[in-house]
């Protein structure tokens, strides 16, 4: 027992100098030329089998007794999820993609022992068909500015020494020497805006929380990321939890708070685990808890796991949930910064916002404000998903165009399909069509287009997407997630969903578009919280840019993209049909008849429009319209 306490006390840092000398001693122990196999340990790569790869490497290293020459680390997510599991061999930074446990022996043989590159595991640039050896040459990474995600690949999230080695907690030592007002000024000057969706100027929020009266104040990290297709908060919290903690400690010092909370969704088990480990380690090192780095400042952080309600990502609902109440939003006529959690001044920021804070303090507000556009500073992390070649996380300076993001970084649309729209900002955002792809991406520009930045979700859709169906999908999602407290949101979204379902089933009426418009106005002006106020965006933006499709559904009872089942007819072109019987075998209802080598026919009364025949026909004889 005494030994344990002694050991703990040895770790504990008592001053900024102590942290600096620890950093030097960590760096002195590490040989930058030593071979290190780093495997991405993010959720996406794990789902693709990264854990098996790690085990295989460990076994192989042990079997050949390479422990001295080679080290292995399981890093955070660098963003190239499409190609996972990712393995980078340092110090040369050779990138192997889609690595399987059975590839491990070859990697050790060839690369580690013989110093050669395993060609077949390299990434091939689809544009030039060239194999790319080094990570930094991959076009997906080359065009990004990974100020935040960049650190993910350098560290093992469960090892605080890794974070300290790359300069971690040096912003904290700097901030502890600054007055609270000076810190707030720096954040204000940086132009940082809230990354969770609202885009509220972070510095202004901090100022009102600093000015708010009260001896008990709270700091909260919102990690209740719930937008469909968004996972950047998860990547940061599980890939670099200390950067979030460091941001929170700086924020707490700035407003005079001694208690912080990380509200993280329970569906992110790895993020919860890594955040928990990070808190424990930070406590051991004296970076959290009493008398942080000998400065006299106390601050501790507790993890609260969310119960799975989307609306709890809204700050007032989140705080209600934190208090142990039903997660329902409240009016925010008095800001949460003045009267939030338990009626105390509360500083709530998104994971990405917190992760930006150490950067601003370390490199200065002026450096930070140079990145981005006039109204939106810094980089933003987007999750690029949907019909896109390179699915993953993309960190770019604000102001880059949608086209650059989707085509240059994202690699465009797979299978030679045409681009149709990109949905930004999660369920409350809007769909942006091709003709607006050259719009620079920042908070204000996206809002002008009837969409929003939101939390950085970006869902790319190809020509086979029905925009009415997309609107219906998002409204359906929000219908399920509305808390039901206020009339416009509960009733209005439900009615919108009924109307949209009718339209997709061919039961739409010409006046439906006006009704949708009216409902949208009631929602935006009348709803209690942002969920309801922005809920109509997917509908409004699709009506605005794809009205033709609505009209085709309503007037002609046709779904141009061939998605809405009730409006699609499958038939067989007798000219093209070779009579191979394939579709007859596949049809689940026996609706297709015909003899061998004779054109087949579909009985429309029996057809359930599942599209199985369309998918299997090798001669493209099945017509969908």
């Amino acid at each position: 027992m005494v030994e344990q306490v002694k050991k703990l006390l040895e770790k504990r840092l008592e001053s900024a100098e102590g942290l600096e000398s620890l950093r030097q001693s960590i760096l002195a122990k590490r040989d930058p030329q030593r071979i290190c196999i780093s495997v991405c340990g993010g959720t996406a790569c794990r789902a693709a089998g990264a854990e098996g790869v790690v085990d295989a490497f460990l076994d192989e290293i042990e079997r050949r007794e390479l422990q001295v020459q080679v080290s292995l680390k399981e890093t955070g997510c660098p963003g190239f999820c499409e190609r996972g599991p990712l393995v980078v061999i340092e110090p040369k930074k050779i990138l192997y993609q889609q690595v399987k446990p059975e590839d491990v022996e070859e990697i050790i043989d060839e690369t580690i022992v013989a110093g050669r590159v395993v060609e077949r595991l390299l990434y091939t640039d689809p544009a030039t068909k060239q194999k790319i050896t080094y990570e930094s040459d991959v076009p997906f990474y080359k065009k990004q500015t990974q100020n935040i995600l960049g650190t993910n690949r350098q560290i093992e999230p469960t090892n605080i020494e890794d974070y300290i080695a790359v300069g971690g907690y040096s912003a904290l030592t700097k901030a502890l020497d600054m007055t609270p007002q000076k810190i707030v000024e720096e954040v204000k000057k940086s132009g940082l805006r809230g990354r969770g969706g609202g885009g509220f100027p972070t510095g202004r929020k901090w100022q009102s929380c600093l000015d708010a009266k009260g001896d008990v104040k709270y700091v909260i990290c919102n990690a209740d990321e719930g937008d469909p297709g968004a996972f950047q908060d998860r990547a940061i919290l599980e890939g670099n939890p200390h950067s979030v903690l460091e941001g929170m400690i700086i924020g707490a010092h700035a407003i005079g708070s001694h208690q912080g909370f990380i509200y993280v969704r329970n569906e992110y088990p790895l993020a919860v685990r890594h955040a928990r480990i990070a808190i424990e380690q930070a406590m051991d090192y004296g970076l959290l808890g009493k008398n942080i780095l000998g400065s006299g400042f106390d601050f501790s952080v507790t993890i609260i796991r969310g119960g799975g309600a989307f609306v709890c990502g809204e700050s007032s609902a989140l705080m209600a949930s934190l208090e142990g109440k039903v997660g329902e939003p409240k009016a925010k006529y008095v800001h949460m910064a003045e009267k939030g959690l338990w009626e105390r001044p509360s500083l709530l920021n998104n994971v990405k916002t917190w992760a930006n804070v150490p950067l601003i303090i370390n490199k200065g507000a002026d450096w930070y404000a140079k990145i981005g556009t006039a109204g939106s500073k810094g980089t933003m992390i987007f999750s690029l998903v949907g019909n896109i070649v390179n699915t993953g996380l993309v960190e770019v300076p604000m102001g880059i165009t949608l086209r650059q993001m989707i085509f240059d970084i994202g690699g465009g649309i797979p299978d030679g399909k045409k681009f149709k729209a990109v949905q930004t900002g999660g369920p409350s955002g809007g769909c942006i069509p091709e003709q607006l792809l050259d719009t620079p991406v920042d908070f204000d520009e996206l809002t002008k287009l009837g969409s929003m930045m939101g939390s950085g979700g970006m869902i790319v859709m190809d020509e086979d997407t029905c925009m009415v169906d997309v609107a219906r999908y998002f409204i359906e999602f929000l219908k399920g997630e509305s808390c039901g407290k206020c009339t416009p949101c509960r009733e209005g979204i439900n009615r919108m969903s009924q109307i949209l379902s009718n339209i997709t089933q061919g039961k739409g009426k010409p006046e439906d578009l006006d009704t949708l418009q009216d409902l949208a106005e009631v929602l935006s002006a009348g709803a209690l919280c942002a969920l309801g106020q922005t809920a109509a965006n997917p509908v409004l933006s699709t009506i605005r840019y794809f009205k033709d499709e609505y009209l085709a559904h309503i007037n002609d009872k046709k779904c141009p993209a061939g998605v809405c089942r009730e409006l699609v007819r499958f038939s067989i072109d007798p000219e093209k049909c070779e009579g191979c019987l394939r579709c007859i075998k596949e049809c689940p209802t026996g609706a297709i008849t015909g003899e061998k080598k004779q054109p087949h026919t579909i009985n429309q009364d029996m057809c359930i429009r599942c599209g199985a025949c369309y998918d299997v026909c090798k001669f493209k004889a099945v017509i969908k319209r």
Binding site: S482, G484, L519
Partner: protein, 237 residues
Amino acid sequence: MAKVWIDGETSIEVEHAEGIDIVHLTVDDKEIAVSAGKTILEAVERAPGIGNIPALCHHPAVKPYGACRICTVEVSEDGGNRFKFVAACLYPVKEGLIVKTQTEKIKKLRKGIIELLLARCPNVKRIQELAEEYGVEKPRFVLGDQDCILCGLCVRACQEIIGKSAISLVNRGIYKEVAAPFYAYELSGDCIGCGDCAFVCPTGAIKMGDDGHPILPKVKIPYAEIEAMMKKETVSS
């Protein structure tokens, strides 16, 4: 000296009284004065004849909730340059606040909310009256047959005034409803039969039964069904 309206017809000249925290605000072009800390709705209720703010989920005996949204008004904090929509039952009065309760936008918004409520509860008298006042004829939606508008007054009265919490709002979104806690078949012994919930209910969805206990609106998913659903899920998984 300033002219302050105390109701629709009468105004008085007042001097700012020292030591009393009074806030002046303009409601539909008439300046009124109230003590600080009140909401717009409370201020307007104290000045009969000025402004017209309907409310369904509001009751002076319980804390404001902001659910029905029918009390939405337009306010400006910058002397009339920019207006925004706020719920009058929640918005705290501020010096110099300009409140508009009857603009075309407001009327249209209330009309929209009433249409939604009427579609949910076509047989409720209070909603029918509001529909008539705001010119809502027939909702454009499929009609429901509910009586409860989920204003939460019953639940709040039971919790805040009686201190019992014998009923609560359960579920979310369109599945939200007033029920005994945990969807129990019957009200628990916590219900003292005071009738408070039936008294505050603006739509008559809760009535007192012969046994001296309130009869709640019929729940959409009774507990028995949930149990059956859960059993089915356990069997299939």
